[in-house]
Symmetry: C2
Subunit: 287 residues, 2 copies
């Protein structure tokens, strides 16, 4: 399937991501339908012209007439939805998603689908500090990463189709990696950093220090404002990998602590120089 504007697109789940996908695709001229159990989300999307049609239930007729379906649900809801409704897809329907963890959902979903329906998993690495369809904004894709995480069940055509979606949405950097590589990467660059930010906010009652926090403390804790429902689920669904990363960080932090306790100035400085060299590369690296 090509990304031609007479394709009928169904978006399941109208939160921030589902709404932002809808907004972008509608602007590009596609016919966009949405399903969300929350009538207020559907009303908002209709009145703001993010979608052409909206339903609060999984209507078999609507599902079967879709050419492409984009899932923007929490992982557990996503699995349940596929289990209950996959029989309504017509052969040739292309599916993708926005889920932030991969290994724990991708294989399950693919094994549930009838033959002829292909699910190509993707993770758009974009977001905002606010959630909900009301915060939808298709500008969040600009300059962001879009990761396609196929398995050996996917076809080259399916992978190209999924990359094409990233391109038309306006993502800057489109990459392909396995679900396992994705979960390792996201465990480090996103989940571990959120664990650190949360721990830094919760370890001490720091309210009286608010007026003395400079940019560095504010930078480190910006992501400590966190949607607890979504992030607890993302952490739990990437548990083994995130635990592994947390243990690596714990060991390293403890090493630094012990170097300070034993006053090993040379080794402390060597850690700082390594840190500086690595961080410098991040600033020169073209994104």
């Amino acid at each position: 399937m090509e990304w031609i504007t007479d394709s009928r697109i169904l978006i399941v789940g109208l939160g921030l991501m589902g709404g932002s996908y809808a907004k972008a695709l509608k602007r590009l001229g596609f016919h966009v339908t949405a399903i969300d159990t929350d009538p207020a989300a559907i009303d908002f999307a209709l009145s703001h012209h993010l979608v052409d049609r909206g339903f609060t239930q999984a209507e078999p007729q609507v599902i079967s007439e879709s050419d492409a379906v984009i899932f923007a649900l929490y992982p557990t809801v996503f699995r349940r939805w596929i289990g209950e409704n996959q029989q309504y897809f017509h052969p040739g329907t292309m599916l993708t998603d926005v889920t932030g963890v991969k290994s724990c959902v991708v294989y399950d979903i693919q094994s549930m689908l009838r033959p002829g329906v292909e699910f190509i998993p993707a993770h758009p690495m974009a977001g905002r500090e606010r959630s909900g369809v009301q915060a939808s904004d298709d500008k969040i894709f600009r300059g962001a990463n879009y990761i396609v995480t196929p398995t050996d069940k996917n076809t080259p055509e399916g992978i190209e189709w999924c990359k094409g979606l990233g391109r038309i949405l306006g993502f800057e950097h489109i990459a392909v990696m396995s679900p396992e590589e994705h979960d390792q990467m996201i465990g480090f660059v996103s989940q571990l950093t959120h664990c650190i930010a949360v721990s830094l906010m919760t370890c001490t009652d720091n309210a009286h220090l608010a007026e003395y926090t400079g940019d560095s403390f504010r930078d480190l804790t910006r992501i400590a404002r966190i949607n607890d429902l979504m992030w607890s689920e993302l952490f739990l669904m990437n548990k083994q990998e995130l635990l592994r990363q947390m243990d690596i960080f714990l060991r390293e932090f403890r090493t630094l602590r012990d170097l300070l306790e034993t006053e090993d100035r040379d080794a402390l400085r060597e850690k700082m120089r390594l840190s500086t060299r690595r961080r410098e590369q991040f600033d020169v690296e073209p994104r």
Copy 2:
């Protein structure tokens, strides 16, 4: 002593902070002299009109004719300099500094001084990612915090004089606290955060992940580019307090890790909600 422009000001140490103080005070019309052992720093300051006069040695004549002296040296160098030169100050000379740790230097310095010479310690919480007099910029004081950390050896007049310096330099928020309160605060909002950023960069060889790092990872590691000579000294000179803070953070991070391992979703979510509530306060708090 009032901050009147016929005061003769001596700045000892022409790095980023010494240079930025010089630039601001010269612009305000003061007569500014600098001492730095590096001839290149003096040449730069003279040719860029940051100072009126510059010397590469601690000239007794220059020291004795100064009304106010500002020390912008590493803590160990600062102590040695006072030990060697404090006899040249004339009675009534006012001293202050920019040192980022307090308890470990303030009492030593005050106990070395002859009667009639008052040292009022201060910490301007401003800086840049670059160092050296060449990076001097008096705009770094705007919107920043300036902390005066007096002891019971200081006079009310001395404390007012020191706060007045913060005001004329353009700091937004001027506070007074004890050296111990300062070191506790700075251990948390600055040193602990630098330890976390460094550990995050050194715990894994992450060069191949550079292209996938979004804003959150970049925010958390911005301060991982670090002047190893200065920061190792600051860490070591605030060792007991920083160790205490590192241990509190370690315990909290390990608790979060264990909640993940035991899949205690409710407790994970409660941590995230606490983190969110505390971080929200930081954004509404007037600075």
